[in-house]
């Protein structure tokens, strides 16, 4: 063996000495030819030579050359009786395992013989081979056999160890092939085995098995506790050689503590008491003076200590232990060993999420901030950032965000993006004052603009648009930030967008007059990328509406050759269209088209999803994680790029944020030359021209949860697609997909004011074939007709494949109503007649106008409406997770005002509003009382009209 080794080394070093690659190959080929002739020769090789040549082949393979022979000789070696020959055989097939079925059969046969040989050395080799290969084929052949070896009474200890780990390996690769059975209870009893090596291997196995089959291995808890207790409290004499630098069996202790983390705290008070005693002993030992100065001693001791702390955190039930754990970690935070500081920061992260210890963790904030500033090791600083993020709450958010921003200036490039995301999330989550939020994000862009992803700046725009109170401040701040001679392109994007919307709020100040604003933005224009320039062009057209006095200046810019003849199709198209729009459209139309963005639907931050993606699942520790998870379907649609196929006309995502992709340009992608006239067509028909350039219009067409796969009935049966769920979604929002099947998608966009409304229905042909005789009809039942006035225009009876047509419904609410109108669509597709009907979500609450009022007013009016007929109450079970923020958003979406600090119980929600109909106005008050424990809600509606109370209560109850 050693000799063959040495000859191989001669090959290696013969080539290592500066010889060329060719020389190496030549040498190898010569060697290979030699071995091949030996194997093919007439003379049968003895075991020793066979071993020698197989060994050489192995080395040649490891040098990076292909080996296409010798497998059979290696397999022959497996059945040798000599250890060295067998070993090389096993090594060869472990490395060069071949899926050749004939060979596999032979190999399995040899392994089977060795497993049955009762020779512990051979059994060990076979088990090692199975574990190292760990393939499915191996599992199929041996998963039944190994448990028997493991629990047989006469198996040697070393074989038991190998068998346990071998089984564990097979279970990890093919859990379905490892049958549970009688052996499981006997494996649990291995925890009592004399031999600590066997116990360690068995504990590893049981830990993995127990994660998937907790019931089967429940009895392991008490056995593990008693074993641990014996180790921890023993005088380290009966532990054979498993005492390591004065620490009794540290690896086994760690494994046992890991196993216990698969289960909740033990129910049996005796076991529980014993475990608590163990944990206390471990914590006490940490305070004792070290028995050795060697780092190995403290390492082993602390390995056990950290695992004990993990268990305490996992159980999260003994406040006393949790506080001790936290104090211990606090000590480690200042320890001179870097490893301990690192681990302490990591453990504290999980501790921060326990309600018992969150406050205790917070007391270490200064130390952690200091670590962020002074640690020399990026791994440790990274942990400090994680911990700061985990310990952040409303009380310390400003400090933590400020420190993270500070750190960001000097942070390692590798972790900047993550810090940016974390700062953005914390700033939003704990913003009391949204001016602070705006400042923070602008600072982020200033410090680390390159690392600010789209999600972050989309989000700041969503928030500014949704909050009136911060718009003026945002406009002023971005204007000031843009003064810097060099500012990041992301700042130009945010600045362009915000000034385009809210520039008028600061135009009164002569220092930021319209012309100055425009010149400032335009001074950045030429330095920016195409998507940003596209966004700026949209800002300019918005300026035309906001500031008619600079219209000519802007038209001049749009008219310049660099715009109108720009090589980029997108920019050229925008310039042409915007120029035409500004020349042709009347002020009224301009005002409508370029109206201020309506609020975005409240949705959870997509930044969090991004952070999670970046960190991998399960690593973002956040108490609110679970509730955010649920709304991820909404997050998905926050990506402006996800436009449905028929609506794609603008490739740049930033452009789509402005909603330009959807409204006037939806009719598939028109070539630039014709789009100008298309716009003119659209605007010549004023009834259909009023689609505002609304935001979020893309996600209306792309919400994945709405993509129902209903098949249209081919019979001309008049079935109403009573997709109640979809219908109910529209009660609290105005835009989205109403219906979708393989052929057709119907999208809605609507707006309501007082008792009037306008709904745009978009019919998208998802196929590549024309729809013929396309006739949508809106039908009001006889009951509904007197209360609701609907006017529609007919649409073009032909819808081309992939195209979208739009229909406008003008709505007037005459008096309160219960039912919803029906939208019936008939068309011919590939020779078959299609007929389908859906409910059109025009509901009474759409005619709500919110009313703000004080607490006193509210209760006064509440009392005035105390007639039993005026009140309708409904108690119902929550259909969705109960989240205050989402509930608030829904109440606002419902149309009523959300009155804060009115109800004495802060958990309750109250709202007020007036329903406008042509004939009357009906005052409405509502109150929603959640009961988290019971997962129930009580909803009370009081209005001056019984039917209205009834209907509103019905509609709103479906929302939670």
């Amino acid at each position: 063996m050693i000799q063959t080794e040495a000859s191989c080394c001669r090959i290696i070093f013969g080539m290592g000495k500066g010889k060329s690659k060719e020389a190496e190959i030549k040498r190898i080929n010569k060697e290979l030819a030699n071995i091949r002739s030996k194997f093919k020769g007439d003379k049968a090789l003895d075991g020793y030579s066979k071993k020698k040549y197989v060994c050489k082949l192995l080395f040649i393979f490891l040098l990076g050359h292909d080996i296409d022979f010798g497998h059979m000789e290696a397999v022959n070696l497996l059945s040798s009786n000599r250890y060295t020959e067998k070993q090389i055989g096993y090594l060869f097939i472990s490395v060069l395992v071949n899926s050749n079925s004939e060979l596999i059969r032979l190999i399995n046969n040899a392994i089977k013989n060795d497993l049955a040989s009762r020779n512990p050395t051979f059994m060990g080799l076979a088990l090692h081979c199975i574990a190292n290969v760990g393939s499915r084929e191996m599992a199929e052949a041996f998963a039944g056999e190994i448990p028997k070896i493991l629990v047989a009474g006469d198996t040697m200890d070393s074989v038991k160890q190998s068998a346990a780990l071998c089984l564990l390996r097979l279970y990890r690769t093919s859990p379905d092939l490892v049958p549970m059975g009688d052996w499981t209870s006997r494996v649990v009893h291995l925890l009592n085995d004399q031999h600590l090596g066997v116990v360690t291997a068995a504990t590893s196995l049981i830990t993995t098995l127990a994660q998937k089959n907790p019931e089967e291995f429940k009895t392991s808890v008490s056995l593990a506790v008693s074993r641990l207790s014996r180790i921890v409290t023993s005088a380290s004499t009966d532990l054979q050689d498993y005492t390591y630098y004065f620490v009794p069996a540290p690896w086994l202790s760690v494994k046992l503590l890991r196993l216990l983390q698969c289960y909740p705290p033990p129910e049996d008070p005796a076991v529980r008491g014993r475990l608590t005693e163990c944990l206390e002993t471990i914590l006490n030992k940490a305070q004792e003076p070290p028995k050795s100065k060697k780092v190995q001693h403290s390492n082993a001791k602390n390995a056990v200590l950290f695992e004990a702390i993990s268990l305490i955190i996992h159980h999260d039930s003994e406040p006393n232990l949790l506080v001790r754990a936290c104090n211990q970690l606090g000590q480690f935070l200042q320890h001179r060993e870097t490893n301990l500081r690192y681990l302490a920061l990591e453990s504290m992260c999980t501790l921060a999420s326990s309600e018992f210890s969150h406050e205790a963790v917070k007391t270490h904030i200064e130390t952690v901030i200091n670590a962020l500033k002074t640690e020399r090791d990026v791994s440790v600083r990274q942990r400090a950032v994680d911990l700061l993020y985990a310990m952040c709450d409303r009380s310390n958010a400003q400090q933590i965000v400020a420190e993270m921003l500070n750190y960001l200036e000097t942070a390692d490039y590798s972790i900047r993006e993550e810090i940016v995301l974390k700062v953005a999330i914390l700033a939003e989550k704990y913003a009391v004052d949204y001016t602070w939020y705006v400042d923070t994000i602008l600072n982020l862009i200033r410090i680390a603009g390159d690392y600010v992803s789209e999600e972050v700046w989309y989000r700041v725009i969503q928030i500014v648009i949704n909050r009136d109170d911060v718009q003026g401040y945002a406009a002023k701040t971005v204007f000031e930030a843009l003064q810097a001679p060099a500012c990041h392109e992301n700042l130009v994007k945010v600045g362009g967008y915000i000034l385009g919307e809210f520039g008028n709020l600061i135009a009164g100040d002569p220092r930021s007059s319209p012309l100055i604003q425009f010149n400032l933005l335009h001074s950045k224009f030429h330095l920016c990328s195409v998507p940003t320039r596209a966004l700026l062009l949209s800002t300019y057209i918005k300026f035309v509406n906001l500031f008619p006095e600079i219209k000519t200046t802007i038209q001049d810019v749009l008219r310049s050759d660099s715009q109108l003849k720009n090589a980029d199709v997108e920019l050229q198209q925008r310039a042409v269209e915007y120029l035409r729009l500004s020349t042709i459209a009347s002020t009224d139309i301009l005002a409508t088209v370029l109206e201020e963005m309506p609020p975005f639907p409240e949705r959870e931050s997509s930044i969090l999803a991004k952070l999670k993606k970046k960190k991998g699942p399960g690593t973002v520790t956040d108490l609110e994680e679970i509730k955010k998870e649920r709304s991820s379907d909404m997050n998905g649609s926050a990506e402006p790029a996800s436009v449905n196929a028929s609506a794609v006309s603008t490739p740049s995502p930033s452009a789509d944020l402005l909603g330009l992709g959807a409204a006037p340009l939806t009719n598939s992608a028109p070539p630039p030359s014709s789009s100008g006239s298309l716009l003119v067509d659209v605007f010549s028909d004023s009834a259909s021209a009023v689609a505002p350039l609304a935001p979020g219009s893309d996600d209306n067409f792309a919400s994945p949860d709405l993509a129902s796969s209903e098949v249209v009935s081919e019979e001309p049966a008049d079935t109403v697609h009573d997709a109640d769920e979809l219908f109910h979604k529209f009660v609290c929002k105005n835009n989205g997909v109403l219906f979708e099947n393989q052929l057709l998608q119907i999208g809605l966009k609507s707006e309501f004011r007082q008792n009037l409304g306008r709904m745009f229905i978009f019919y998208g042909n998802k196929t590549s074939t024309q729809f013929l005789n396309f006739t949508p009809t809106v039908i009001c039942s006889d009951d509904l007709q007197p209360s609701l006035n609907l006017q529609t225009k007919p649409v073009d009876p032909t819808v081309d494949g992939g195209a979208q047509v739009q229909q406008v419904v003008n709505i007037e609410c005459v008096s309160d109503f219960m039912e919803a109108p029906i939208l019936n669509i008939q068309f011919r597709y590939g020779g078959t007649f299609q007929n389908l009907s859906v409910k059109l979500p025009i509901t009474l609450n759409k005619f709500f106008q919110p009313t703000e009022m004080s607490s006193q007013d509210f209760f006064q009016r509440w009392k005035q409406l105390s007639n039993p007929k005026q009140e309708v109450q409904n108690i119902f079970k929550a259909k969705h997770p109960m989240d205050a923020e989402i509930t608030k958003a829904k109440i606002i979406g419902f149309g009523s005002a959300l009155l804060e600090e009115v109800d004495p119980n802060p958990a309750n929600f109250v709202g007020a509003g007036i329903i406008h109909t042509k004939t009357t106005q009906i005052g409405c008050l509502l109150r929603l009382e959640p009961n988290l424990q019971a997962q129930m809600y009580r909803l009370t509606l009081r209005t001056s009209k019984e039917a209205v109370s009834q209907r509103l209560c019905e509609l709103l109850s479906e929302q939670f």
Binding site: M1, Q3, E5, G64, S94, C166, L196, W251, S379
Partner: protein, 191 residues
């Protein structure tokens, strides 16, 4: 970098399915790992987030630095970090016992032995045995078997120990094993 870097033979190659990763990937992992580890100062911590190369944030590189050698293990979150540091120490102490005052040459000329020792400690990526005496006993038993099967085995080993005893400090340091690019077999994953 003047130090001999012999971390290669012990780098366990990690792969989700347990399917051997390609040779190129393996070499790349080793190179990048060495790059990451060798540029770290003393006094920083012994844990490294490995990133995508070693399978995402659930896996860590845990290493120890002995004179000119780095011992690097890649482990997932189911292992105790300090426990692994101790395991590396046990490994090195065992090597020392088996080779009697171990040096780099032993590790180069006896890759197979080193592999056998590691195989006694780690199997299929899992910790098998941590008791040094137990490991040494097993290795001794193997040696005995080898000797009984091949009487001629002693000579090269004696040659190595002769070189070692010449005590030429420059020789081992100048062996740059990186150029030879010893390929590592797809050893078990260490989990």
């Amino acid at each position: 970098c003047g130090a001999t870097c012999l971390h290669a033979p012990w780098q366990r190659c990690w792969n989700e399915e347990g399917v051997p990763v390609s040779e190129d990937t393996q070499q790349q992992i080793i190179r990048e790992t060495f790059h990451l580890v060798s540029k770290r100062d003393e006094n920083v911590c012994n844990f490294l987030e490995g990133g995508l190369l070693i399978g995402g944030s659930d896996n860590k590189l845990i290493y120890r630095h002995y004179a000119t050698l780095y011992f690097v293990f890649c482990v997932d979150s189911s292992e105790s970090e300090l426990g692994i540091l101790d395991l590396i120490q046990v490994f090195v102490e065992t090597l020392d016992k088996c080779f009697e005052n171990v040096c780099e040459l032993d590790l180069i000329f006896h890759v197979d032995k080193v592999h056998n020792i590691l195989a006694e400690m780690v199997m299929g990526g899992m910790v098998l045995e941590t008791n040094m005496n137990e490991i040494v006993t097993q290795i001794d038993a193997q040696n005995k078997l080898e000797k009984s099967e091949a009487g001629l085995a002693g000579a090269p080993a004696r040659a190595v120990s002769a070189v070692k005893n010449m005590n030429l400090p420059e020789i081992p340091r100048n062996i740059n094993i990186g150029d030879i690019s010893i390929k590592v077999p797809n050893l078990p994953t260490f989990k």
